[in-house]
């Protein structure tokens, strides 16, 4: 009897992280794309950093902030009696941190190639800024935003390093597919490790197939425009 908890936990962590980085990434992309050049360069480097840092560095930094003896972690423990580490949602911090740059960068790219005259046209027609954003800018940029979302989900699903540092490996609580594979390999349980590898391959392949289908659909729609 196989314990399916890591699958459910991985999907849940990746799903929640994707929702978080979807909004925060788009927000950051929107403002950075409009920022003056100097600020833009600095902000961009800062926001992209988690993409190029080793996951262990991200994990260490997260522990510096969220660990029960430090900063925010000590505060949460003191005031709310909640430990921010070693729970299933601790892994969301790690997954969101490493997935954020992917969402942010692809969304920013899409926003920068957006034809601003469309927004100006909307303004001359008296449309509100939020209407222009949601009904004009977002639909035009949907390709990049969709790609960023899918990439973020895939990256969050594959997070291992920072996750294992901040959430550890507690079967039935913080185990994810990635950490389960590592534990099974280290304890010489090759059969279990291989099963989870196949599950992971299946999910990743399915995600990529969905992306391809969406792209094709998009292209066909464009033909009629």
């Amino acid at each position: 009897m196989m314990d399916w908890y890591p699958l459910w936990n991985s999907v849940r962590i990746a799903g929640i992280s994707t929702i978080i980085v979807f909004f925060s990434g788009i927000c950051a992309a929107y403002y950075v794309a409009k920022a003056p050049r100097l600020v833009k360069g600095a902000l961009d480097a800062l926001l992209t950093l988690p993409l190029v840092l080793p996951p262990t560095v991200v994990g260490y930094l997260l522990l510096l902030v969220l660990g029960p003896k430090r900063g925010l972690g000590a505060f949460a423990l003191e005031v709310f009696h909640v430990r921010l580490t070693m729970t299933w949602w601790s892994a969301v911090f790690a997954a969101a941190a490493v997935a954020f740059p992917l969402m942010y960068r692809t969304a920013r790219g899409a926003f920068e190639s957006f034809d601003e005259t469309l927004a100006y046209a909307g303004k001359t027609l008296g449309l509100s800024n939020s209407y222009i954003f949601w009904r004009i800018r977002m639909p035009v940029c949907r390709q990049g935003i969709l790609a960023g979302t899918v990439l973020s989900f895939a990256r969050a699903l594959g997070e291992y390093g920072a996750t294992s540092m901040i959430a550890g490996y507690i079967p039935g609580r913080t185990a994810t597919i990635a950490t389960a594979v590592y534990q099974f390999w280290r304890t010489n349980d090759d059969a279990a490790a291989l099963r989870w590898v196949l599950v992971n391959l299946g999910i990743s392949a399915a995600v990529l197939l969905v992306v391809n289908l969406l792209e094709r659909k998009n292209r066909e729609e464009r033909k009629w425009l």
Binding site: L63, G67, M86, G168, Y169, I170, G172, T174, T187, N188
Partner: protein, 261 residues
């Protein structure tokens, strides 16, 4: 044709020289729990023997065993568990007659200094049964984890059930477990006395022989070693007066001169 041949020979020689790791370089694979002690001993040893350079690799003994089986270059292996050494012996990978029982350690229940989460193995049993504690231990491939499994069994606890209900955090070597205790992300953990000491943790209880048996660290030279004399010399240094004194300073108990059983 002749030129090609000599070119090939030069290339092969070059590769051999660069892979040999130079003369007098001794690679020591040792249990993670020996990191602090061996690093210090190694420095003292290298100061004495200018011609030998020690290269250490520390990880869980189970991982080291796998790496040696996969062909990693290693001259001396010091394991925290007998089982890992025996596996290598069965495969004929150890240099016959070179094995010794190097030292003895103790398995303890440790908490963060002054944490007062649990104060004994009995209290741990109660807390685990009530579901009010998060225990860290090594996984089943790590010697410290294997000792911890024996202790849980001795206490009459069902490890699988505790793991499923999310009360056990598994570390992939003993240092990971002690870091989790000192960072306060778990309530307590089962580690070695030496690791607790090195990490400044509080030892609240020690496991007796009846709970997990003797914790003996065997050491051996590998059959494939190309530095047997240097390896022999290092092992005898570890068992010399000076070596023992340093091991004792870290909380290890040097073992007698009995050869490996």
């Amino acid at each position: 044709m002749k030129q090609v041949k000599s070119l090939l020979i030069t290339a092969v020689l070059l590769v051999m020289v660069s892979c040999g790791g130079g003369d007098g370089e001794l690679t020591v694979f040792a249990a993670a729990s020996m990191q602090e002690a061996l690093t210090e001993i190694g420095e003292a040893y290298m100061a004495e023997r200018q011609d030998i350079r020690l290269v250490f690799h520390f990880d869980s003994s189970g991982t080291l065993q796998t790496q040696i089986e996969e062909g990693a270059v290693c001259d001396v292996f010091i394991s925290a568990g007998q089982q890992q050494m025996e596996r290598l012996d069965e495969q004929g990978m150890l240099l016959g007659g070179s094995g010794v029982n190097l030292l003895e350690n103790q398995v303890v229940l440790a908490t963060e200094a002054g944490a007062q989460s649990v104060n004994s193995f009995d209290a741990l049993k109660c807390a685990l049964e009530e579901g009010t504690v998060l225990l860290a231990m090594g996984n089943s491939g790590v010697p410290a984890g294997q000792y911890a499994q024996k202790i849980l069994e001795y206490l009459g606890l069902d490890e699988a059930a505790l793991a499923t209900s999310g009360q056990i955090s598994y570390g992939s070597n003993v240092k990971e477990v002690s870091t989790q205790i000192s960072e306060g992300v778990v309530d307590c953990g089962i580690i070695y006395a030496t690791d607790a000491k090195a990490a400044g943790l509080e030892i609240v209880d020690s496991a007796g022989e009846e709970m997990c048996g003797h914790v003996i660290y065997p050491a051996s030279i590998l059959e494939a070693s190309t530095h047997r004399d240097e390896a022999m010399d290092f092992l005898s240094y570890l068992r010399s007066e000076a070596g023992r004194a340093r091991l004792e300073a870290y909380g290890f108990a040097p073992f007698g001169d009995a050869p490996l059983a």
